[in-house]
């Protein structure tokens, strides 16, 4: 059961190359994005691009298209990760209590900032 012996080689190959082109394009956008758009929220923009790339890979390279059961499972796992993020990052850390007085978040003192960036030679 389940063994497909006939493959439409040319057609599938074409899909692979199309997706590759898309991914390369997105990678290029990744690089010019800071100079192109959403420069103020680079992080969001980058993650958005990454999500689109991931979607392409999962759907076409990993053949998830049409896989209802597995697709649902993947979505379940991703939702779970999302929930962890919402709770831990959105609810807990972003309301960090007594932040100014805590050692791990206290503002940096004496000229530490410079020494941290590696020097160029």
């Amino acid at each position: 059961m389940g063994i497909k012996t006939t493959v439409n080689y040319q057609e599938e190959k074409a899909v692979y190359f199309k997706v590759l082109a898309g991914l390369l394009l997105l990678t290029a956008i990744t690089f010019i994005q800071p100079h192109l758009f959403m420069a103020q929220s680079t992080f969001m923009a980058q993650m958005l691009i990454a999500v689109i790339k991931a979607w392409l890979i999962v759907m076409y390279y990993m053949h998830l298209k049409g896989e209802k059961l597995i697709g649902a499972m993947v979505i379940f796992a991703l939702l779970l990760v999302l929930v962890f993020f919402v709770i831990v990052i959105g609810i807990d850390v972003s309301h960090f209590q007594f932040k100014g007085e805590s050692y791990i978040t206290e503002p940096i003192t004496t000229g530490v900032t410079q020494s941290a960036t590696p020097t160029h030679h």
């Binding site: 379940f76 779970l80 709770i87 609810i91 807990d92 850390v93 309301h95 960090f96 209590q97 791990i104």
Partner: protein, 550 residues
């Protein structure tokens, strides 16, 4: 006489002649289940011994037999063995392996070789965990929670314990994975999800937790190991890390893990109650779906272990609110079980006694869980013996009691024989009384302010600890007696044939008892519900080709 799974087996590699090698290399799910049971049984005695040592030490204030550091190692050893070696793999590895494939009419699990590998991975984890008793500076003394930064700074052999927990976690993941695929792929034709026995539902929900929660603790342990070896300060405040992050990551796994323990146990309950009430179960679908929703909601409530950790107050509120919602599906299950007894014909055989006893003890465990889910109250009770009593009522009075229920229930299936019923009942009563005497006083002590993990305590609490000690003695005596009765039953109990309880699920419709190597001789077509009784007698009957004849 026909051959049973004790006589022949499939092996992972080759066809060894010696019986010993046949057991070591076996890929038969029933044999693997039995081996799990044997190993867990051994470790459990180590853990009971440490538990007893603690109770002995706590008999009076001040130092009696062991010093503070040994005590700290004792409760760590106790916690680590009980959690990682015994109760987390427990019911899935034993009964999930032995009966789950039988219940769905499969010849084995989906990946029998992986199952074999998983078993040995588990053994490897056990060896690493136990070896740290002798290798390095002694067993970890961190408590089973490994809270940073203590676990990062203590001199004891925490690395071994962490690695062991990681390896055991891997084994747990692979078991879950195997069961998930098995349940999705190998159900007998006609058996839809809502025709599966409820134990299979329990295992299914559990497997999802094993699969998706365990990796989180895996990565947490890896980060802790990285931290210890490479000095990156992920959890170490001296380097800017935040210990509270560790608590988050730890409990993201470890809270779902408690449902991982209890869900298959609830599954056993749902098997036993209808069989011994001799009628159809009440609310099959709600029980099945409540397992799934407990597993789902269970992912969202880990923060109730962090009420006093310094977490943001708003997060505490959210977590407290969510926590109450796990109690609702649990409550529904309980009411469904009770309703199943209504207008039935209740046979108080030993498995049923254990199940009913558990309804009492787990209700106490669960309702005290609800107490400490209330933030304000938990701020007082957190890390006191109240919490300790809560989780022993839940784990021991819930999971382990139901494991015992299952042990009696499936005993004739696995061995083909029956234990001595009156004696087994005596063992139950001893256990039940001992257990309550052991743990109930601890609620009071905890409420009065007795913190946990205390080697020494103020003398006010002595009376409670003494009562508890007496309970422990009765309890352990009951346990030993119970195992004696079971072993005796296996050796020389009467042979009872394939379906002594007159149950309806597929694991009782095998060609022989004990079952043969490849289970059902023919796979039936399942067009019936799992618990079909009519006027107290099973409805479903098969001919020798497993075709229904009723």
């Amino acid at each position: 006489m026909s051959k049973t799974y004790f006589d022949e087996t499939h092996c992972a590699i080759g066809h060894p002649k010696s019986t010993f090698m046949q057991w070591m290399l076996t890929i038969d799910h029933k044999r693997i289940g039995i081996m799990y049971a044997a190993v867990m049984f051994t470790f459990f005695f180590v853990a009971v011994a440490t538990a007893f040592l603690m109770r002995l030490e706590l008999f009076a204030p001040g130092q009696q037999y062991i010093d503070g550091n040994t005590f700290n190692q004792a409760f760590t050893l106790h916690g680590v063995i009980m959690i990682f070696l015994f109760i987390v793999p427990g019911i899935p590895a034993i009964f999930g392996n032995i009966v789950m494939p039988l219940m769905i009419g499969a010849k084995d699990v989906s990946f029998p070789r992986l199952n074999w590998f998983t078993f040995w991975l588990y053994i490897l984890g056990c060896i690493i965990a136990i070896s740290s008793l002798w290798v390095g500076n002694g067993f970890a003394d961190t408590g089973w929670t490994f809270y940073a930064p203590y676990s990062l700074t203590t001199g004891t052999n925490v690395i071994f314990t962490l690695v062991a927990a990681f390896v055991l976690g891997m084994a747990s993941i692979l078991t879950g994975l195997n069961f998930l695929v098995t349940i999705h792929r190998l159900r007998a034709p006609g058996m839809t999800f809502f025709k599966m026995p409820l134990f299979v539902w329990g295992i299914y929900a559990t497997a999802w937790i094993q699969l998706l929660a365990t990796p989180v603790v895996g990565i947490t342990l890896i980060l802790a190991i990285m931290e210890k070896y490479f000095g990156i300060g992920i959890f170490d405040p001296a380097k800017g890390g935040d210990p509270v992050l560790f608590e988050h990551l730890f409990w993201i796994y470890s809270h779902p893990a408690v449902y991982l323990m209890i869900l298959p146990a609830f599954g056993i309950m749902s098997e036993i109650i209808p069989v011994f009430s001799r009628r159809e179960i009440f609310g099959y679908r709600t029980i099945a779906l409540s397992s799934a929703s407990i597993a789902g909601i269970g992912y969202l409530v880990w923060g109730h272990h962090l009420y006093t950790s310094g977490m943001a107050d708003i997060a505490k509120t959210v977590f407290s609110f969510l926590t109450f919602f796990v109690a609702i599906p649990t409550g529904i299950k309980f009411y469904d079980w009770i309703a199943t007894m209504y207008k039935g014909k209740i046979v108080l055989a030993t498995p049923m006694l254990w199940a009913l006893g558990t309804i009492i003890t787990f209700a106490i465990g669960g309702l005290t869980g609800v107490t400490i889910a209330m933030i304000g109250v938990d701020i007082h009770l957190q890390d006191t013996y109240y919490t300790v009593a809560h989780f022993h009522y839940a784990m021991l009075g819930g999971v382990v009691f139901l494991l015992f229920a299952g042990l009696h229930y499936w005993f004739p299936l696995v061995t083909g024989r029956m234990y001595n019923e009156p004696r087994a009942k005596i063992a139950f009563y001893l256990n039940f009384i001992g257990f309550n005497l052991l743990w109930f006083p601890m609620f009071i002590a905890g409420y009065l302010g007795m913190p946990r993990r205390y080697f020494d305590y103020l003398p006010e609490f002595q009376i409670y600890h003494q009562a508890s000690f007496i309970g422990a003695v009765i309890f352990i005596a009951g346990l030993v007696y119970m195992f004696y009765v079971l072993i005796q039953g296996w050796v020389k109990g009467p042979k009872v044939g394939v379906n002594p309880w007159r149950a309806t699920t597929l694991e009782w419709h095998l060609p022989s008892s004990p079952p043969p190597l490849e289970n059902h001789s023919k796979v039936p077509y399942v067009d019936f519900d799992p618990y079909e009784y009519y006027h107290g007698e099973p409805v479903v009957k098969f001919d020798e080709n497993m075709r229904r004849i009723d």
